[in-house]
């Protein structure tokens, strides 16, 4: 009894110190002087633009990584293509690599003197300090989640249902649509939720390649940093609350997904 209570006290205390206190403090600071300053801070055009930009980037990065993630997981599990082991290892790279390094790599690749950047600029395509680089950076850092969720489920369901569908006359596409996709749907949903959360919160890689120009290439996370550095604490806290609210919404979506998964 005492051991169990000890574990409970420790884990709740740990959560309180590490998680609840900082997040709670942000909410408290944001609403310290009532709703009005909060509302004023987040409805200023630069904050609104930053929010829109963050959502825009997420709406491109998430579908891209979902489609890639499903295809990549299928390639890793279902097809013994030479070199797939290497791909499997590389998929985890964004988790291991600091986003700052990713940003720097993109900077070197797409910069004025970079391999791709030189050619692209010559054709009038601006990647760095614009939406394309920010999307690339976000896609890179949020890449592993769908793959990592789908791979174990694909392994677990095995190939027999797909083989059965094939012997019954189903084409590869029909088999995928009618058999494979329904079997992995919860894993995909879970991966999408994690990808979304990661994309919304991305800071390191994007801050290097975006230039962070207020009202143009500034995402919500960058807006938080800029406000904080300019001693606009209310603005920083308000935007943080917005980010936290988005994250909490995503997590709630995840809980719903989990519940659906259990009942299926």
């Amino acid at each position: 009894m005492t051991a169990r209570r000890g574990i409970r006290v420790f884990s709740l205390g740990y959560l309180a110190v590490i998680l609840v206190a900082p997040v709670g403090l942000i909410f408290w600071r944001a609403f310290e002087h009532g709703l009005h300053p909060f509302w004023a801070a987040i409805s200023n055009p630069i904050a609104v633009h930053a929010l829109k930009l963050t959502v825009e980037i997420t709406l491109i990065a998430v579908p891209a990584n979902t489609i890639f993630g499903i295809l990549c997981a299928l390639a890793i599990v279902r097809h013994r293509i030479p070199g797939m082991g290497l791909v499997n290892a590389f998929v985890d790279l964004p988790l291991a690599l600091s986003p700052v390094v990713v940003g720097l790599a993109l900077y070197l690749l797409y910069g004025r003197e970079g391999w791709f950047g030189h050619w692209l600029l010559g054709h009038g395509i601006q990647v760095l300090f614009a939406l394309p680089a920010m999307v690339l950076a976000t896609t890179f850092v949020s890449l592993p989640f769908v793959v990592r969720e789908v791979v174990p489920v694909l392994r677990e369901i095995g190939t027999q249902q797909e083989e059965a569908a094939a012997t019954l006359g189903a084409s590869a596409l029909t088999t995928f649509r009618r058999i494979t996709l329904p079997a992995i749907r919860w894993a995909v949903a879970y991966g999408v939720v994690l990808t979304t959360a990661r994309s919304l919160g991305e800071f390191g890689a994007v801050s290097i390649v975006s230039g962070g120009i207020a009202g143009r290439t500034q995402t919500l996370t960058q807006y938080v940093q800029a406000s904080y550095e300019n001693f606009d604490q209310t603005g920083a806290y308000a935007a943080s609350v917005l980010l936290a609210a988005l994250a909490i919404t995503t997590l709630l979506a995840m809980t719903v997904v989990r519940r659906g998964n259990r009942s299926a």
Binding site: Q160, E163, A164, A166, T167, L168, G169, P182
Partner: protein, 320 residues
């Protein structure tokens, strides 16, 4: 010939699953592929279905070359060892799958599925999910699903392997009746010699990627081609060069005639069958099968000295 495999070879890395295997299966027959695990029997079935591509050799289905044909185009029904039910679909949708993907009219699908549900004796279970069925019911659902699109050939991979003994016996009888009614050419894989002898009209015995013998059950039991077949299709005693079935040894108390002396070591009563372990005077250990009546007449007890006569034995020229 409904199905023919010619000189089929299949390797998995260094492992040779099928080594130059040829078989021919007659139209309308019920053929068993019998062998121990790793003998290549399941691989041969999967090659016929198109689920494995052979490294060499050819497959013919209904006289047509099918070696490079995709499984979807072979007109083959396949029942997997663990049934491979579509877990997110109801029993009805599982059985209907082969018809709905062919875009058959709804009323036709409904009628055909209902007919199959009755045939495989799953009435009223159409709206259930596979996870709500017993093993035997899942097996029958898988069979109905394979039969829905009216395949020319039905392939069953260890169809009764995962079921308990009683259900297995019921399903065997039922499969036999079904085959008699439908006359669809059927091949099933099994490692159970009794199952092969009971169901099949032709048995293909496989071992280590080779076909050891192809014969009707009785022929296989009475005239095995080699020691492997002899020992795989039934119990056997080995006495020097000779191979003797335990029921081909007679136990008597009569010391006269060509009999060998032996001591009874252990008696096991299995209902109708009584198994007697004996040690011959030369130290050779044998086991003898008697009926209960024979055993009772002999009044055997462990330690008794008895005499053995061999009714029938086999000597293979090239011993293994």
């Amino acid at each position: 010939m409904a199905i023919e495999a010619r000189n089929v070879t299949k390797r998995f890395g260094d492992f040779v699953a099928l080594d130059d295997v040829s078989i021919a299966v007659e139209s309308g027959s019920l053929t068993a592929l019998l062998g121990p695990s790793g003998s290549g029997k399941s691989t041969l079935l999967r090659v016929i279905a198109g689920l494995e591509v052979p490294d060499a050799g050819e497959v013919f289905i209904s006289g047509k070359e099918a070696t490079a044909l995709a499984p979807q185009k072979r007109g083959v029904g396949f029942v997997f060892q663990h049934y491979a039910p579509f877990t997110h679909m109801t029993v009805f949708d599982n059985i209907a799958f082969g018809l709905t993907i062919r875009r058959r009219p709804k009323t036709e699908v409904r009628a055909r599925v209902q007919e199959l549900i009755d045939l495989v004796q799953l009435p009223g279970l159409g709206e259930r999910y596979p996870s709500q069925l017993s093993g035997g019911q899942r097996q029958r659902m898988a069979l109905a699903r394979a039969l829905a699109a009216e395949p020319e050939v039905l392939l069953l991979d260890e169809p009764f392997g995962a079921l308990d003994a009683r259900v297995r016996k019921e399903l065997r009888e039922w499969l036999l009746r079904l085959h008699d009614e439908m006359h669809v050419t059927t091949i099933f894989v099994t490692h159970d010699q009794e199952e092969a002898l009971e169901l099949a009209d032709t048995v293909v015995v496989m071992n280590a990627g080779h076909v050891e013998q192809v014969a009707p059950p009785r022929e296989l039991y009475d005239n095995p081609a080699n020691p492997f077949v002899m020992s795989f299709v039934g119990p056997v005693n080995r006495l020097g060069d000779a191979w003797v079935r335990p029921h081909d040894i007679e136990i008597t108390h009569d010391p006269n005639g060509p009999a060998r002396e032996a001591q009874v070591e252990r008696i096991v009563r299995l209902g109708f069958e009584v198994r007697v372990d004996v040690v011959r005077d030369d130290g050779e250990r044998l086991y003898v099968q008697l009926t209960r009546n024979e055993a009772e007449e002999l009044e055997l007890a462990p330690g008794d000295i008895v005499h053995l006569r061999t009714r029938r034995e086999r000597v293979f020229s090239a011993s293994v």
